[in-house]
Every structure is written in C-alpha cells, then in structure tokens.
Symmetry: C2
Amino acid sequence: MSVLIKGGIVVTQDSERRVLVTDVLIEKNRIKSVGKHKASEAEQVIDAKGKIVMPGMINLHGHVSMATMRGIADDVTFDQFLEKTFAADAKRTNDDLLEGARLGCMESLLTGTTSFLDLYYGEDQVAKAVEEAGIRGFLSWAVLDDDKTTQKGSPIKNAAKFIDKWKGHKLVTPAVGPQGVYVCSEETMHKARELADRKKTFCHYHLSETRGEVYRHLSATGKRPVDWLADIGFLHEGDVAAHVVWVTKQEAAKLVDSKVSVAHCPTSNLKLAVGGTSPVIDIREYGGTVGLGTDGCSSNNSLDMFTEMKICALIHKHSRWDPTVMSAQHVLDMATVEGAKALGMEKKLGSIEEGKLADIVVVDSNRIGMIPTTKKNAVSNLVYSCSGQFVFCTMVDGKIVAYDGQLACGA
Amino acid sequence: MSVLIKGGIVVTQDSERRVLVTDVLIEKNRIKSVGKHKASEAEQVIDAKGKIVMPGMINLHGHVSMATMRGIADDVTFDQFLEKTFAADAKRTNDDLLEGARLGCMESLLTGTTSFLDLYYGEDQVAKAVEEAGIRGFLSWAVLDDDKTTQKGSPIKNAAKFIDKWKGHKLVTPAVGPQGVYVCSEETMHKARELADRKKTFCHYHLSETRGEVYRHLSATGKRPVDWLADIGFLHEGDVAAHVVWVTKQEAAKLVDSKVSVAHCPTSNLKLAVGGTSPVIDIREYGGTVGLGTDGCSSNNSLDMFTEMKICALIHKHSRWDPTVMSAQHVLDMATVEGAKALGMEKKLGSIEEGKLADIVVVDSNRIGMIPTTKKNAVSNLVYSCSGQFVFCTMVDGKIVAYDGQLACGA
C-alpha cells in the first residue's frame, strides 16, 4: 500500500526544522520520500492543501486506561486525589481496564498522538486496546513492593510475564514501571532494573513529583530521591522519569549524566498544584532529553497533546517572566523528536524524513480557529491555536487509523 | 419561533448552580421554561440527549478583529510584541478590520461564546460583523490622547459618533474604551468618563497589566495606576478593567469598593509573561466581580473560552500551591454569571433560567474526549476536558447561529 499526502504545509521536524509546502509519499509502513510527486505514483492520495502535515505526537507519560476516570477527583487536595483515585482503581476489573484503554487510545489517535508511554498495572489489557486501535504503545507494567500492591500475585513476576508475551510486537513495546520511591524499596528498584536489563528494555517511573514525596524520602533515607537512586546505582541510560519537579540542579545534572530522559507533565503538575515548575529548561540546557506527557485522565483531564503543548509553553514563560523561553518550536520538539529520543526511537520516529516509520498527522488548518495558517506561523498555530479536534487524519505505521473524525479501530 | 432543547444535562448556573437532566423551552428570544415538555410544544426540537446544555459564555476582554493577526508576534519580548502588533495594526484598512472581526465572531460562536466585550479602534467595522454573525457585542471604542493615536480624527469624537450610531441596537452595546493610563492623560480619562456618563454607557480599559506599566506610571505621577485613577475620581460603577495583574491589595480593594469589575485574561498574561498572577481570588473574596477574557488573537492565540477556563483553573491552583482553589464551578461562574454581572446584564444573561435571554450553548459530550459525562462531572468536564470544537449548537437571542460546526451567518 502506498499513500501520497499531497500539497500540505509539511512541518518536517527534521534536523533543520524545515517547513515545506510539498508532498509526502508513504510506502508500506515507511516514509519513502518528502518532495513533489504525481498523484498517479500512489494507490491512495490525501489532499492536504491548506492543511498541516506533522509527525505524530508522542505522549511520554500517562495511564491510558484511566480515560474512563475523567472527572472523578477534581479540585481536591493531593491526598484526597490519591485516595479517590486509588479507591476507584482498586475496584476495576480487567474489563474496566480494557474499556478505559480503548477510550484512551481512541482519544489519543483522534487528537494526533501516535505513540504513548504508559505506566499501570494490567498493561495486558492496554496492549489489547493498542493492537485493536493501531496506535503505538510503550507499556510499562507497574512494579512496587509486594505488600503495597493491589495486583494479584507479585508485580515483578506479572511484569516479567507481560514482557515475555509482548516483546517483539510491531506496535507494543513492553517495559518495566517501578512506580516511585514511595512504594518501591531498594530491593524492588533493583529487581525492576534487573528485569529490564534481562529483557533488554527500560524502566519508566514517577520521580520527585511533589514536595511531600521528596521530603518524606529525605526524612526516611537521608537522601533526596534522585540522589538516592543514583547512590543505589539504579539510574540507567534509556530510562524515562516522569514529572521531575522537585529536584535540585545537582539532581537534574545527575539525571542528564545518567542519560535518563524526563517526561514533563505540566497540566497535571498545575492541576494537582504540586508547586514549583519542573526545571526542564535547565535539564535541556544541560543536554538532557525532555518529552511531554499528559499524565492520566484523572489529573488532566484530557489526552489532547495540542492543549498540553500550549500549557507547557505558557507555564515556562510565566515562571521565568520571559516570553522568549519555551518557544513554540521548542515545545513541538518535546512532543515529537525529543519524545522519540527518550524512547530510543530517534532514528525511527519523531520527524517526517525519508526512511522513518510513517507515523503522521494531518491537521485541518482551514478550520476557523487556525486561520490564517501559513508556512511562517504553522508551528506557532500548532502550539497556540490548535486543538486535537482539528486533526483530520492520523496515520500509524503507514496505516490510516483516524480520518475526518472517524476511527478505523479493529480494521 | 419556539425551540425545545430536549433531554440534555442542563448546567443551569442558577443561584443554586443546579445541574438537571431536563428540557429548555425557548420562545422568541427568551427562555420560557426549564423543565419537562412534550416535543409537540415547540416548532423546533433539538435532541440534546447525552449532551450538555449551558449558558452561552461571555468573553469579557478582547480585540476580536485581531483574529487575522494570529501568530504574528509569538515568543518575543513584550516590547517586541507591542512593536510588531502596533506596526501590523497601523497598516490595517477598514476592510481588514471587518475581515478580522468576521473571523473572530465566527470563531467565538463556533466555540460557545455568545457575548464579548471588545476594545479597539474601528468598532464600527466590528459592529457590522456582530450584526452579520448574530453574536452579542459590547464594543468599546478605543480612546487615547490625540497625539498618540493612529485614528483619523479625535478618538473621543470617533467614540461619540460610534455610540450615537449603535446605541439601542439589539445585539450591539457601544461603550467607551480609554486604552490605558500609558496613553491616556488625566484630561483624556475625564473626557472618556464624561462621554460614558453622557451616553449612559460604561468604560472598559486596560489596567496594570505589566510591572513596567505600573512602575513607569509611578515614576511619572508618584502614584500606581489604580491609586491614580481613584484619586482623579475616574473609577466608576459598571466599568470593566482588563488584566489587573500588578495591583496591591489596597488597589484591589479600591476597585471593588468602586464596583469596577475585572476581566481576567490568564492565557494572555502567561504568554506575554507579565509575571505574577492576577489576584482575582482576593478580588472575589473582597466581593468583587471577575469575568474571564481571551484577549486578542496575537496574545493567546485563540478565542476558545473552554481552553481559557482550563488555563484559568490551572494557573491559580499552581500559584497558590492549592488544588482546591479556583474550582471548575468557580471558573465556569467567571465565564457566565460573573461576566454577565460585569456587563450589568445579570438579570438578562449568564444562566439558563425562565425569563432570561436565550443565549444557550449545547456541547456534544458524547464526543470521545468528554466520555464519560454525567450530571456529577458535567461542570468539571466543561472546564478540564472540553474544547470549543465540541460545541454542537450555539443560540443567541433565541436564534440558532451555529449548528453542528456550521454557521448561520447573515441568515
């Protein structure tokens, strides 16, 4: 199957960040060429005139199957939020998880996300939904101390079983998800690392999200979470740490030195009022990799990465009293190329370039809220004016999975 | 003409903030009844099953005809922003203003805004667009010192002429817009007030948006802007002051005592990095009226009030380190009943109650990003999950002006 996306404003996200009015030819699951082509060269042609063609976005942190938990714990204290969320979570059956994951995958595809990194128990249900929807799922099975989990059996064994089942799948990449230092002992962290190493995958974890979490760990161990993880030898190239709000500059530098990437979740941080602003500008200045994530639907309450990009730009400008920081281009990088890099997929995902996997989104910039869109303001409009509802077409792995508001789930 | 909106989740915004699954009957331009009715009782029936029915939103501060200036000045310093915006502005013809105003009115209606308060020169063009689109426009003609304006003729005379022409129009309410203390001398402020008094309308102005503005005024006059306006006897019941970020608690109290309402514009404040967070929580605690505005399209860059509501909730939770402040209900109030009160329209607009003008929005909460929506989480979903693109139907003054993504402009 070949598809020609014709005449769009192509926001390539290549190394020069070129924006071109041109065509994109897809053959099978790869981008064959970026440049002018005749309509007759492809089996299917998508007219993208006046539309923006961009790389599919990568949602670098979330809990997709919580999509059905939208609005269950808003405007309450952090402790009440956890209480309400955990109480609802504990009651969920596998069918509930599958239903939630289906809803979340659909919302993601319809709003321009083609890959997501998940952290949850019951990732086997999420994997089913991923396969059905045709989205790319990087799924980390939640690992925590046996005496702190509601999982049946040992989390580490469940994770191992999940990885064995899905390893090598075209769309599913299984990983290990040590939930956070507040529920993982040193032994559990080591077991998670050992499992990830043995299965040749990575770890994805919550890290220093709230001030309370940091100070409780400091009080219990004498060390702040990142320092502690570094000292026990846990930090590892290829890992993704979510949130990373309450870290010192020294801790930030340690993460960068260890080649641990950061999944920044601004909306969730703001909504839960964790205080402070994640120092992701510093982390990128140190040479670190920072992607963007929505977090779960009970703390956002949306999976729309366009809104996430806007909020990301706004909060950093605000925090630094400087409108020139966190530019639209910078934020779009986080949602595309940086996310790909965090997942070790920089050669395969994150930009529209020859040879890359065909994960592509077409945005209808002819819609009222995006007018006028030109080559010059395309990136700005994607970040500041766009809504996921302006997505016209989503392609994952060369396959059209959403088109004009309709899903091709299960096709 | 009578319309029955049947079976929706009605977020009434009445004094008890009731959310009811019921019908809304509209006769001519008024809400006749909120309660169960037979379909045969109306000439037209809108099936709102599973949809949310809410009051049309009131965008309390903007420059609607700048909609065509989207993305012209992003990620630059505040001074560069003003320079770029003013340079583009100075070149605009009446046709440009009309085109911009048309685009802005369309975007507003499609995203659930039924009334907006504008501040600009060339409001006669905006008034034309308002009339065509069928939206409600509260239009303040920009007034500033004769030697600082690009308007042809004297701004105060232009404003007077505009008011005379449109006073008493069904959809257009003309007002006076002294632009801000940085371009208005004491004499100009008094002339603006005198004009507003004489024409029985109000003043709408920018106030203490940036720290620079405040300190320049302090340096020039020895007084901070609000203190200065109070001392010259300018502050007046019924006025709307936009931004109000850099005010002392004493100044905030003076505004409240003078019954001047505040139009809070969080996205614009964040994007331009004015620093600080507008003390609107304090202002409401003092008994003041605070509505919500998007500001113009070069500093937002969207007129979507749903996104504005979300960002408003987030930034205040963040600033106070407290997720319980600025609840979804509180923010929805700002976008509806509080906005109506600021405009002196609390008996006519802002809620779905018998006898009020029929400015009503139907949101399709069956869309993926709003599932699940129930009576219980409807308000939360409107603020945290909704996009203007989920608006299914917009009614202004009893007339359906947008339906299923299509506009009835000019009908």
